[in-house]
Amino acid sequence: MTPYLAITDQPIDVAAAMAAVQTDAAGAVNAFIGTVRNQSGGRPVRRLHYESYDSMALTQLGHVVTQAYEKWPMLQEVAVVHRKGTLELGDVAVVVAVATPHRAESFAACQYIIDTLKQVVTIWKREEYEDGTEWVAAHP
């Protein structure tokens, strides 16, 4: 039940993260994969740069996963891997994988983790366009 949480500057191995959560007791695995889109708000994106405050990000990620275990006691295994550094179009930025005995909870827990991750985990995204860069969500 120890969650597999990581922040890495290496390409994410999605299959490994999903394999990490599979057990014979869990019939359902839900995985969310966030990839680099070629546009953002209609503006063409060339690549992304993720910056992370690693030690705090892992602390906060641990809190998020603990909350998920509290909300869904049947939650069995969790893996969250977030990439940092420079990412090209199509690269995997984040994978969240959860295993539960039944499928409805796998969807709910996975969605809770990615939604909450986006609110509290100390990772920042800088989008690179044809004509400059911008920190995402920095200004109102």
Partner: protein, 95 residues
């Protein structure tokens, strides 16, 4: 808590300097990744934010700017100590 300890604590706060680490757009605004605030440094998270916004008004234009103390989000009334790991946290955008 005995009065003597309170007095000692007061002297300690007035003497201390603080190191604040800056991430994302706050580093761009301040122009460095670590800023050192010499004594007398802000005694609480709220005072730190007030001081930083005074020196760098662009921080006030952000959607939000939190302070983290030892990897946890901190309220304005949380006291600060030299040994704390302190960071400015602009709006996060992981995922």
């Amino acid at each position: 808590m005995p009065a003597g300890n309170r007095g000692l604590s007061k002297i300690y706060v007035e003497d201390m300097s603080l190191k604040v680490t800056l991430y994302g757009i706050t580093r761009d605004i301040v122009g460095t990744s670590v800023i050192e605030l010499p004594a007398p440094a802000p005694a609480t998270v709220g005072e730190l934010l007030e001081e930083m916004r005074k020196q760098y008004p662009a921080l006030g234009e952000l959607r939000s700017c939190a302070v983290a103390v030892n990897h946890e989000y901190a309220d304005n009334d949380q006291p600060l100590h030299t040994v704390d790991e302190i960071a400015l946290i602009p709006p996060v955008a992981g995922g």
